[in-house]
Amino acid sequence: MRLLTHNMLTCNIKGVTKGFPLSIEVQKLETKETDFNPDFLKNIFPKLEWKAFHDAALSVGLNDIPEQVDPVMLEDSEFLQKFHHALLEVHLEEGALICPETGRRFPVSKGVPNMLLHEDEV
């Protein structure tokens, strides 16, 4: 699971009002290079919850993602490289995603987050 996926996932256990962002518990990370595509980054930028992305990057050990960004930074290739790396190249292979409201753990195994709810949670 990469951080763009993390930026989409929420905890929607019945009754939970603030299920986003899930915090990340890391057991194993992998880095895989992918093609750098600045246009894609510019398109995705306005759709991201930046604060959640920043926090997620920190929890996978990347402290070079600024807490706040100005769209002009999207012209800065050094920034784009870091953005690209954090968003698309770091994979959480083993670990968990944790609901900010209830503390419910969603395990991540072989890179696949298990978001299935138990019967009493729906």
Binding site: L4, I44, G111, P113, V122
Partner: protein
């Protein structure tokens, strides 16, 4: 990539070894899968450079096709871990990247507006009534541009009304009618039929 080439690569994708009938696990064959994704790309530009989700991805055929046509980011969602394991092997064999999430479309835990395009072959709803429209509802809530989906031709009016009136799609259009070869286990009533008529839909948001 040419259509023929895409179809031939999709022919190498492994499928469900023990399909779970209750989840309507029948694969989209390479002929239909390749045309579906190829049309989304060449006619509408909805694949390349986009974030694409494959709901009920099973062994990954449609998501893999999107990835081969240069989607920038593909996410497959299925309720069955065993299907996702097959999908993972397929991704490795074919050297494509795709994110996999184990989740139930009925209560999908997704924040809306990140995905551009959803492409899917949902259960027809022959085992669990309404499954088809649940998938469509989740897709229309998630995609920001368009949704491609297969539904039985016999449900065309129902799908159109549901999409436009209840699920607030902006447009709902049948792109083409296909013949779908459904395994015998799903054919309860029309025992003599070999295949069924299926519509390829495109919905916009």
């Amino acid at each position: 990539m040419k259509l023929k080439q895409l179809e031939s690569i999709l022919g190498d994708v492994s499928q469900f070894s023990k399909p779970k009938i209750d989840l309507e696990q029948y694969p989209t064959g390479p002929h239909i899968a390749s045309r579906m994704v190829y049309m989304a790309e060449t006619t509408f530009g909805d694949i390349s450079g986009k974030v694409v989700a494959d709901f009920g991805c099973g062994c990954g055929t449609l998501g893999i096709a999107a990835s081969l046509l240069e989607a920038s980011y593909v996410v497959g969602v299925d309720i069955d871990y065993q299907a996702l394991e097959v999908a993972q092997n397929n991704m490795q064999e074919l050297e494509v990247e795709m994110e996999l999430v184990l989740d139930n479309i009925q209560d999908l835990s997704w924040r809306g507006p990140v995905v551009d395009t959803v492409i899917m072959n949902p259960p027809f709803g022959t085992r669990r009534k309404g499954a088809d429209m649940e998938f469509l509802s989740a897709a229309l809530k998630t995609a920001t541009t368009s949704v491609y989906s297969l539904h039985k031709t016999s449900t065309r009016e129902h799908v159109q009304r549901g999409a436009l009136r209840d699920l607030k799609a902006k447009t709902a259009e049948v792109l083409c009618e296909l013949r779908y070869d459904l395994p015998a286990s799903y054919k309860f009533h029309k025992k003599r039929e070999v295949d069924i008529a299926v519509d390829l839909w495109r919905f916009t948001i």
